[in-house]
Amino acid sequence: MEEDRNIIERVKLGQTDEFEKLMNKYGNAIYSLALQMTSNQNDAEDVYQETFQRAFKYLDGYNDEYSFYTWLHKIAVHEVFKLRKKRYQLLKMEVPLESQDLESFIEGEWEEEGNIDSKELEKKLKEAIEKLSSKKRTVFVLRLFQGLPLKDIAEILDLTVDNVKILLYRARQEIAKELKGFLK
């Protein structure tokens, strides 16, 4: 946190290159989030780029009460929402091009572990996440995959912590329902 603050100060003073350090530090998490939220590599790339460009542009508006990590997540989530809104009509008609990204990745991981039976399960999990409503999906991914505390998720989505808890509970229930019969 302190280190981030120093870097940010230096960037604000004009040492633009310092920003690369922040990208190196948080890039993986943001890209991973974008990929999970969009299920599409092209969109994930757009979200990733927009996130860092915006973060740089509005660095002055960053409130260091919150971690930079959370702030970046907030921007990324907003970018995803913006993209979804823009592409809503299109998404209604299309199956995302790289929607297999998550699936194939998880498949690969499990395969290495020698768990062949889980193939169907991973697919189900991916489908279940994609079926969640936008907010539930965001909460679920931020909590379970990005490991953010509930308080930060609430800040990102402009919700109360209780609201986040409810969304998370509903998301868990829906996912569990989808996976019921597969998980033993």
Binding site: G14, M23, E45, V95, L125, L179
Partner: protein, 595 residues
């Protein structure tokens, strides 16, 4: 009733607490509350188990996911972001800081920018708004003068971002040389324009292109363009690599000759592109024209055979002699699916249109034309005559054009390219292509499921280029099988008797649809019917709901409750009676007793 509700609300509260417990958000007394409740509520116990199992599995998946390193994918984007940062500084001014800390570098940069602005563009066509971002880890040497000596960016590790809307222009009789260790990044909308007599040489440098298409790299894919005007030259010297997202791409550079002839060179050979022509440059092969066929190609002989047939049929055609002459002197071109997308197909057709005369090879999938307007002729001879009148450069051998792709893409394509001829898309026989599953495959790996479908339904034989199969994914799921596309094709041949062949040469490119005698078609139908008879549908029960009967079904896609008229994928529930259910699938009726 109210008691039930109370219990249900209580359970809801407990489950909510369990969810919070998973986040470690509970107080000991709340945990105790859960335990007490679970002792007597078996429903909640089961729900809790389900939540725990899901949570454990999700955590495992998340761990696996988070172990993944995306630095490869990010490398290129990070470069771009850093490039763009110089255009959008944060609100604070950093000039004083720069002046204080980096006075010499600042001065050098200013000189460089001034130098670039002054030298890169000829005074007559000065683009004052153009800025070039240059990031350098060492001294940059940009050599130029007005006496036919090239602009050189060489042998220094530099990244040059050409921002959106910018233009690098080589003045007449001059050239841009991009040397070793140089990364030239073309942002969306950026252009490199090479004027008459000029050249762009990329020697061991890299051109980074931000594009959406992963399969073939085109310099202009994402809006960055290299225009070559008359007598221009684009040279890719050995070891040039077109890179994207940190991975080397060595497939193709796509070049379009907008004006006059364009010469393409590399150490393997030279090629002249006619105006409007499109060429492919590969660092490891001679440059070649897109869609050009070799003389002894099987596609060509096929086309010739058809021409002979057609010639007899149209012997009364008023222009037949003229056409014959054209035919004999013509160079042949094939409309092919390079990249297998409708976009590519459009490009192919456009290319043919600008380089007449060519033959458009069209498949014989159906005896009737698919695209017709109400005012166009209906019979085959009428259609052929009409087509030749409307499109004199096209020789239509069969009345049907088969396009594979997303319906919305096809609609646009048809609207743009055949406003006179085509109005709507009706492909009932290929209706399965509208299926989402197929769409997914079509978009990703375009023809994954098509071979079987076409063969089953139409008896069409397919030709595949081995080169294409090389690009097919090594691990993918086709119809539930995790195998490569190539293996999938072999499997189709072995198990279903689907007929297909490799094209003898990769230059024959991808797909030619041709009717086969389909000896195996009957067998396939039999197999299909047998499969359908098994059908893998299990009726789990009957439910009476508001005077309507619903059935609970277990299908291969999962369980569900359905009512009459509903569809499960392609299976329609035609009728639910007291003792039986009737399904329709692929035009066949299946009756199942309700046990």
């Amino acid at each position: 009733m109210s008691e039930n509700r109370e219990i249900s609300n209580r359970c809801e509260e407990i489950l909510f607490l369990i969810s919070q417990d998973l986040d470690g958000e509970l107080l000991p007394e709340e945990k105790e509350l859960i335990q007490n409740h679970l002792q007597y509520c078996s429903a909640c116990s089961a729900e809790r188990d389900s939540l725990l199992r899901t949570s454990a599995f999700t955590r495992r998946a998340a761990r696996a996911w988070n172990r993944q390193d995306f630095s490869g994918e990010r490398k290129w984007m990070d470069l771009q972001i850093m490039a763009s940062l110089s255009k959008t500084p944060p609100a604070h001014s950093f000039l004083p800081f720069l002046l204080e800390k980096f006075m010499p570098l600042c001065a050098a940069s200013l000189i460089l920018i001034a130098y670039l602005s002054f030298n890169f563009f000829s005074p007559s066509e000065s683009k004052s708004q153009t800025k070039i971002w240059v990031k350098s880890d060492g001294p940059i040497r940009l050599v130029s003068n007005q006496e036919k000596k090239p602009w050189k960016i060489e042998n220094q590790p530099i990244n040059m971002g050409v921002p959106e809307g910018a233009l690098i222009e080589a003045p007449q009789r001059n050239e841009i040389q991009i040397g070793n260790k140089v990364v030239l990044i073309l942002h969306k909308g950026a252009q490199i324009r090479i004027l008459k007599g000029s050249a762009i040489k990329i020697e061991k440098g890299m051109v980074l292109v931000k594009g959406k298409d992963y399969k073939t790299t085109k310099i202009y894919t994402a809006g960055g363009q290299i225009f070559l005007k008359k007598s221009s030259v684009l040279i890719l010297v050995k070891k040039v690599s077109l890179s994207k997202f940190g991975q080397e791409v060595t497939q193709m550079t796509d070049v379009t000759a907008l004006e006059g002839e364009v010469k393409l060179h590399n150490e393997h050979g030279n090629l002249t592109l006619a105006q409007g022509g499109k060429g492919l440059l590969n660092p490891f092969q001679s440059p070649r024209i897109n869609f050009l066929l070799e003389d002894d190609s099987i596609l060509l002989s096929e086309a010739r055979k058809r021409w002979e047939k057609r010639k007899i049929r149209s012997s009364l055609h008023r222009e037949s002699d003229h056409m014959k002459k054209i035919f004999e002197n013509t160079r042949w071109s094939q409309i092919s699916f390079y990249g297998s997308s409708p976009r590519e197909f459009i490009d192919g057709i456009n290319n043919s249109l600008t380089n007449p005369p060519y033959i458009l090879l069209i498949s014989e999938v159906s005896p009737k034309p698919l695209f017709l307007r109400s005012d166009t002729p209906k019979t085959l001879p009428q259609i052929l005559e009409w087509l030749e009148r409307e499109l004199p450069l096209f020789h239509i051998f069969t009345p049907e054009l088969v396009l594979l792709g997303k319906p919305e893409d096809l609609k646009k394509f048809v609207k743009k390219n055949f406003p006179l001829l085509l109005e709507e898309r009706k492909m009932p026989s290929l209706g399965d292509l509208g299926n989402q599953k197929i769409k997914l495959h079509l978009r990703d790996y375009p023809f994954a499921n098509v071979p079987a479908l076409l063969y089953e339904q139409k008896g069409i034989k397919l030709y595949f280029s081995e080169e294409v199969l090389k690009h097919s994914p090594s691990r993918h799921t086709y119809d539930g099988l995790r195998i490569s596309f190539r293996d999938y094709l072999f499997r189709l041949r072995e198990t279903l008797g689907v007929e297909w062949e490799f094209c003898p040469r990769s230059s024959d490119t991808l797909f030619l649809f041709r009717p086969s005698s389909h000896p195996g078609l009957k067998k396939i139908k039999r197999d299909l019917q047998r499969e359908l008879e098994g059908f893998s549908i299990k009726i789990l029960g009957k439910i009476q709901e508001g005077g309507r009967i619903k059935i609970a079904l277990q299908t291969r896609w999962g369980r569900g409750i359905y009512s009459q008229g509903e569809k499960i994928k392609k299976i329609k529930i035609l009728k639910i009676e007291d003792s039986r259910v009737i399904f329709v699938y692929k035009g066949l009726l299946f009756s199942y007793d309700i046990g």
